[in-house]
């Protein structure tokens, strides 16, 4: 579908989709924990804007509730919690070394192409004007996963996990005008609980192994070295 045939709000949704993808890349590139959390909050904000827009375009105002939930959880509560944690653990200035940033970035770019390839047949099933964004949301999920596996610090991994959830949520919003309210509330609640649980776990991991570096958990292996 050519972009020139869409209405202005729809174009805006597409732009927001592209910006959400950009924030995923930025998260992948951030090495400092506090800025990582800021970018994550920015992604939440963009997601909120996209949801509100979709709600207005489609006239399905129940999506405004999930938008409000997004705003509260992903822009304020979870980033706030993480920030508080990071400051309490005094790791907010810590720089995390990533294997090779440029290769990981290029791999992420390849992931975008791959998700485009995968999403091509799925796209045909949707009738919405914004269906082109399915590939983008899939890419956000995959890049979230890439963040989880390419980082060492537990905090970063949690942020990656949350970003995956962002991708799923975005896919639901743009391809089907949101999931049923019950599911959405459930997911939001899950994320909330997960954030709190992770918070608890951080302290435990830290007291047990003296660091948040999950590579240290390798010691728990059964294999004798």
């Amino acid at each position: 579908m050519l972009i020139s045939t869409l209405s202005f709000p729809e174009q805006l949704v597409l732009t927001l989709a592209a910006l959400i993808l950009l924030t995923s890349f930025l998260m992948l590139a951030q090495v400092r924990l506090d800025s990582l959390i800021n970018v994550f909050a920015l992604q939440g904000l963009l997601l909120f804007a996209a949801t509100v827009l979709m709600a207005i375009i489609s006239g399905k105002y129940h999506m405004l509730i999930s938008a409000a939930l997004t705003l509260f959880l992903k822009v304020f509560f979870i980033p706030g919690q993480l920030r508080r944690l990071v400051f309490r653990l005094d790791i907010h200035r810590e720089v995390e070394v990533i294997g090779n940033p440029s290769i990981i970035m290029l791999f992420a770019a390849a992931l975008v192409l791959f998700s485009y390839y995968v999403a091509l047949p799925i796209r045909e099933l949707s009738l919405l004007s914004t269906r082109n964004t399915i590939a983008i949301s899939l890419a956000v999920v995959l890049i979230g996963m890439l963040i989880v596996i390419s980082r060492r610090k537990a905090v970063t991994q949690v942020v990656g996990f949350m970003s995956m959830e962002n991708g799923l949520f975005f896919a639901a919003v743009v391809s089907t005008h949101g999931m049923p309210m019950v599911v959405e509330l459930g997911v939001a609640f899950d994320v909330l609980v997960a954030a709190i649980l992770f918070g608890v776990f951080f302290f435990h991991i830290r007291t047990e192994i003296g660091s948040l570096d999950t590579d240290r958990l390798n010691r728990l292996t059964e294999v004798e070295k």
């Binding site: 090779n100 290769i103 192409l113 485009y116 390839y117 091509l120």
Partner: protein, 672 residues
């Protein structure tokens, strides 16, 4: 002279090369004279070959002759058509310049431990093989010519065989040439199996199932790719090209790689037909990888000729990008854009032959004069060898794809073809092609970095060794060859419309359609797709550059109060004299890029701290990851396998006889 003579002229070119190989063998008393005579014949052959090639191209002519030699049921078939004519032209041009360059260059071998006759003999055979590959119109003579080319070039690589590294380089080359030849043979075997004949005409008519076609394509891709030097089959190239004499390096890099490209185009477009887009994607991706890796490896080399050899890998990669695009567009039915991409690839073949030939000849002159292989020991040669320096500068500008020289035009055409990727409705292709063009852009920028380094380190600055400070300008023949190539580089850069118009007959022959709108705006503008889409006026650009130069020059003139330029020593910040060792070296110039892309090389960096009486020492070794991770394990595996099989060689006579006995029994059983 009409075009129907062109095949006869081409045959006479082949004959001249044979004569140039054989005659000096009878004149061993006077090596210099015989070498000159041989080079004269080679020059004649080069002129004849380019003449024949140019005539076929201009007249859009094709003819075939069946020679009464060869096997009883399979006579040798020779044919010349625009495609082979084009490549014959390339061979002829470079042969001619190498022949001009040769007599003065080989003087240093006279009285050495290696007889000149060997060199001229194998040079003649090598060029003869290349020309026959282009003329052959049946698989049998094609393979014979191909192997002649490979074997003769092996002997040229191993010419200076007293150095162990030359022998090992030549051995690797021979090994890969044999393996590559086997792949090509198998590819022809597949085609011959479907056509029951070895002539190209019958093979082109054969009807292959898609699976068999893909198998034949892959075999040919690997076989020709091994000779062309695509990543990861390139490892022989940076080893073999630097050790041959320089005019041979020019021929190998400039021409032999193109002959492999010719074989690939001939095989895929004409003999195989039915191109599938997946093939194109493979060619495109491998091409892009070759281009980027080739130039990155070139950038970190300190040996001049090895650097040029790696840069050949890069340029072959650019050609393959063009070919891959052409195959994709051809398979998806966009034939006119396919023709554009094919023209871009062919144009780049021509350009690369010219500027790489020029650079290798220049490198030969530099190496001979400064007696150094290592760029770290050169410097300041522009003052000692001004003509070579200017010609080399032209080569560097051309290879860095800068307007208004020729290298730019072919890359520009490749970009234009890639930008038409939007016409493909398939999303994934539409995404791969722009990424490939981004790789091409990266290649161009890195090539500039690489050749700024080459030129700056060799010709500018101050000499880094006493030999470099004593260098002399080369003999007339050597200069003449370089000037010719430099002028051609400029000429093919400012008359692109004419070149595109001339080679347009090749896609017409192969695909039935050419570019129809290349000269829509008149001959001054090159408009490959249409006026509105893109245009490039090379001659006008050159004119604009000269005009603005003149304006600036004369505008500044009256402002000079006393038109004087005062020459002084370099400002040394008051710390005492500057020494040449304070200059940036080749290693230090490429250091930032080496550090950024460090994961691509196997780098061993050692710093030896200062000891008594000695300053600190820095050493840098850069290995090829592909060699270390793919080839060495294969080599080890084969050695291990050989060790295992050597057990059957127990030394006992009765055991040996029993092998024969059991083989006999087995064969009898098979036959019955």
């Amino acid at each position: 002279m009409n075009a129907s003579m062109s095949l006869a002229i081409a045959q006479s070119a082949v004959l001249f090369t044979l004569l140039s190989a054989i005659l000096p063998l009878f004149l061993t008393r006077k090596p210099l004279l015989s070498a000159r005579f041989s080079f004269l014949l080679l020059g004649l052959s080069g002129v004849a070959a380019s003449w024949a090639g140019a005539m076929t191209l201009l007249a859009n002519h094709a003819e075939q002759v069946v020679l009464p030699i060869g096997l009883p049921w399979l006579h040798v078939v020779l044919r010349i058509d625009p495609l082979s004519g084009f490549f014959l032209c390339i061979v002829g041009l470079i042969t001619f310049t190498a022949a001009c360059y040769g007599p003065a260059y080989v003087q240093e071998y006279i009285g050495g431990s290696h007889p000149l006759g060997t060199l001229t003999f194998f040079t003649g055979l090598f060029i003869c093989g290349m020309m026959l590959v282009l003329l052959a119109a049946d698989a049998f003579s094609f393979m014979i010519a191909w192997e002649l080319m490979s074997v003769a070039s092996y002997f040229l690589v191993v010419y200076q065989h007293h150095q162990a590294e030359n022998r090992s380089a030549a051995f690797i080359y021979l090994l890969m040439a044999v393996v590559g030849g086997a792949f090509i043979l198998l590819a022809y075997g597949v085609l011959a199996g479907f056509s029951d004949s070895f002539t190209f005409a019958a093979m082109a008519a054969a009807d292959l199932s898609p699976t068999w076609a893909t198998i034949a394509f892959l075999l040919a891709f690997i076989g020709f790719g091994m000779k062309a030097g695509i990543v990861p089959l390139h490892v022989w190239l940076p080893q073999a090209h630097p050790v041959a004499p320089s005019h041979i390096s020019a021929l190998m890099s400039g021409v032999m790689l193109k002959v492999a490209i010719y074989g690939f185009i001939r095989f895929v477009y004409e003999l195989l037909g039915g191109i599938q887009w997946q093939w194109g994607v493979l060619v495109l991706l491998i091409g892009a990888a070759s281009a980027v890796l080739g130039v990155l490896y070139a950038l970190v080399q300190n040996d001049l000729k090895r650097l040029l050899a790696y840069s050949s890998v890069e340029n072959i990669g650019i050609v393959y990008i063009g070919l891959g695009l052409s195959m994709i567009f051809h398979a998806t039915g966009h034939t006119e854009i396919a023709a554009l991409a094919l023209i871009a690839a062919l144009y780049h073949c021509l350009n690369h032959a010219l500027f790489k030939g020029l650079l290798f000849l220049g490198a030969g002159a530099v190496l001979q004069q400064s007696q150094q292989h290592d760029m770290e020991k050169m410097g300041g040669l522009i003052r000692r060898m001004p003509v070579t320096a200017v010609c080399f500068l032209v080569g560097c500008i051309s290879i860095s794809a800068l307007p208004p020289f020729n290298g730019f035009v072919s890359e520009w055409l490749t970009f234009q073809a890639a930008l038409q990727g939007t016409v493909l409705r398939s999303g994934i292709l539409g995404a791969i092609i722009p990424v490939a063009s981004a790789m091409l852009a990266l290649t161009g920028a890195l090539a500039l970095a690489c050749f700024v380094k080459v030129y700056g380190i060799i010709f500018l600055g101050r000499p880094r060794s006493p030999q470099a400070a004593e260098a002399q300008e080369t003999a007339f023949g050597m200069r003449f060859a370089q000037i010719t190539l430099a002028l051609l580089c400029l000429g093919f850069g400012i008359f692109p419309t004419w070149v595109v118009h001339t080679i347009n007959v090749i896609p017409e022959h192969l695909m039935g359609i050419g570019l129809s709108r290349a000269a829509d705006n008149g001959w001054l503008w090159l408009t490959p797709i249409g006026k509105q889409t893109a245009s490039y006026g090379a001659l006008a650009v050159l004119f604009g550059l000269l005009l603005s130069w003149l304006v600036v020059y004369f505008f500044l003139h009256p402002l000079r109060r006393d038109n004087r330029i005062r020459t002084t020593t370099v400002w040394d910040c008051g710390f005492g004299p500057l020494s040449p060792r304070m200059q940036y070296t080749s290693s230090s110039f490429s250091m930032p890029i080496r550090r950024i892309f460090s994961f691509l090389w196997f780098i061993v960096e050692k710093i030896k701290p200062a000891e008594q009486g000695k300053g600190p020492r820095y050493s840098l070794q850069i290995g090829d990851w592909i060699w270390l991770t793919i080839y060495l394990p294969i080599g080890k595996f084969i050695l291990k396998l050989a060790e295992r099989t050597s057990r059957i060689q127990g030394g006992n006579l009765r055991v040996y006889l029993s092998y024969s006995f059991f083989t006999l029994l087995f064969l009898l059983w098979v036959i019955v």
